[in-house]
């Protein structure tokens, strides 16, 4: 198995521009375009494991929240569509 290696961890996959302000390096994980993070707050050194850990933890946490409190999970768009369909004429 491959363990932790410094050079691997500090070599992120190439960034693909996905919008004017966002890039994607790992599938479904979006990051602000680093060009926008130079004036007020500098980005931190971010090994790959940390990006992946946070993204995975977010998914786990949302799933946990849904499991404990959500009767049903719907997208915001579904909600908007429902509101629109209820509005008269």
């Amino acid at each position: 198995m491959t363990g932790y290696r410094y050079h691997e961890q500090h070599t992120p996959p190439p960034a693909r521009q996905v919008t004017d302000v966002a890039v994607e390096r790992f599938e479904h994980i979006f990051e602000v375009d680093p060009k926008l993070m130079t004036a007020h707050v500098a980005q931190q050194l971010f090994p790959n494991w940390d990006t992946l850990r946070i993204a995975a933890s977010r998914g786990d946490h949302l799933e946990w929240m849904h499991r404990h409190w959500a009767y049903q999970v719907i997208s915001a768009q579904e909600l908007l569509d429902e509101i629109e369909s209820e509005q008269p004429g």
């Binding site: 932790y4 007020h40 500098a42 946990w64």
Partner: protein, 431 residues
């Protein structure tokens, strides 16, 4: 985020702390080293202070016990703001920062990590802040007596004084391996933390014999010292670095390419502190044993067959689950052991659990650490289990003590696997 003028090219160490130029250096009569600290941590501190939502509060194991607002991650950040404003000094706040096990729950649960940290590549770093504030205190001559004594003894003996009045020493660091004929050196070495090397010797013996059973070759270090992590956690950074330099030199001299780590605390030290000390020069691969064993089982190189008739739950060690996101592999190992009845608690619920054993809390605040251990074992008792399995030697001593009153055994996952492989590990589980 604060509205401050940019600097042309931020220094790398400032990037690590997340600060671009502030224009405000927080002079206010602080020492130069404090001014530098405030410059590095100002943005992070204001980021929390202006958020102030305290999602971090109830997951904090110390806060659950003390209910003292000065022990919250929010306060740890707000103090930096107050220092920067000239309202407080490091002498005023240093003692508050002992109230932390560096478990990482708060910084992971903080929305500025969990929901935006990966997006901005800027997350809440309470653990680093606590480490840095402790170091700042030491740099300003403010010592916590327990930490100071512990690190003096570690410096004298090259290992932590885990046996209390019985001294530990360099000549005994490999005693745990007696009769196992493990070679010295080689491309891969097993690093054994101070607690396991001197106190819970059954653990490294279990790991060594499991690896041998799988045909996995490894050796031991020529002269292993403490990893230096505890010194870094308690603020003795120069000592931590000296120890790190020694171990790295030992690895280099023996041609080591890979270090196997059985202790989650060492895993943090080697994958966070050593990279910070050595940067690009850190070319040693670090392998977590619990991940390696899960893989060896998946590949069919290890097949546990001896049934273990126990009703268990698993304690997610903070430094694996919260700080590294390692929670699946231990469950894969437990799933492969026949006979177990497993009452699991999911890893998100366990974000608010802790053994209390981390970052020197038992040295300076033993009563708080003990209450955290008791809280953890109360959670286990509700599951009506007879055994709690952990993957962290430092958690096992305090949890075992708390388990006695509740008739719950505390067993190490590596030792449990060895038992199911039919290995009689030898060694001892206490001093």
């Amino acid at each position: 985020m604060t509205d401050v003028p940019p600097r042309q090219s931020p220094a790398p160490e400032e990037q690590a702390g997340g600060a671009a130029d502030t224009g405000h250096n927080g002079g206010n009569g602080h020492s130069p080293v404090t001014v530098e600290f405030l410059s590095e941590w100002r943005n992070a501190a204001y980021n929390c202070y202006s958020s102030g939502h305290k999602f971090c509060r109830e997951v904090c194991p110390v806060m659950q016990v003390t209910r003292n607002e000065n022990h919250t991650p929010t306060a740890f950040h707000a103090n930096v703001v107050a220092m920067e404003q000239g309202e407080l000094t490091v002498e005023d706040v240093a003692e508050d920062y002992v109230n932390c096990t560096q478990c990482g729950a708060c910084e992971l649960r903080c929305p500025n990590t969990l929901f935006t940290g990966d997006f901005y590549r800027f997350r809440t770093r309470t653990v680093d802040l606590v480490k840095r504030m402790r170091a700042l205190a030491v740099d300003n001559g403010v010592h916590q007596p327990g930490y100071q004594r512990w690190n003096e003894l570690t410096d004298e003996r090259s290992h932590e004084p885990v046996l209390g009045d019985t001294p530990v020493s360099q000549e005994h660091v490999r005693d745990w391996a007696g009769g196992l004929d493990i070679p010295i050196g080689g491309e891969t070495v097993l690093f054994v933390d101070c607690e396991a090397a001197f106190y819970r010797t059954s653990l490294p013996r279990a790991v060594a014999q499991i690896l041998r059973r799988a045909g996995y070759e490894f050796g031991l270090m020529t002269e292993q010292w403490c990893c230096g992590g505890p010194a870094a956690e308690m603020g003795y950074r120069d000592q931590a670095r000296r120890f790190a330099e020694h171990n790295l030199a030992d690895w280099r001299a023996a041609g080591v390419r890979r270090v196997l780590v059985l202790d989650p605390h060492d895993y943090i030290t080697f994958t966070e502190d050593y990279p910070e000390f050595f940067g690009d020069d850190f070319d040693i691969e670090i392998v977590l044993v619990v991940e390696l064993l899960a893989q060896l089982i998946a590949e069919g190189r290890l097949t546990p067959t001896v049934p273990i008739e126990r009703t268990i739950t698993y304690h997610d060690p903070c430094r694996l689950n919260k700080r590294k996101g390692v929670w699946q592999e231990p469950r894969q190992i437990l799933g492969a052991i026949p006979g177990l009845t497993f009452h699991d608690v999911d890893r998100v619920t366990q974000w608010s659990y802790c053994s209390g054993a981390g970052a020197g809390l038992p040295i300076e605040r033993p009563e708080i650490a003990r209450k955290i251990s008791e809280n953890r074992m109360d959670e286990a008792a509700q599951l009506e289990v007879d055994t709690l399995v952990s993957a962290c030697p430092w958690s096992e001593r305090p949890l075992a003590e708390a388990g006695q009153d509740r008739a719950i055994d505390v067993v190490d996952i590596h030792e449990l696997l060895a038992e199911s492989l039919g290995i009689d590990v030898g060694g001892r589980t206490r001093a």
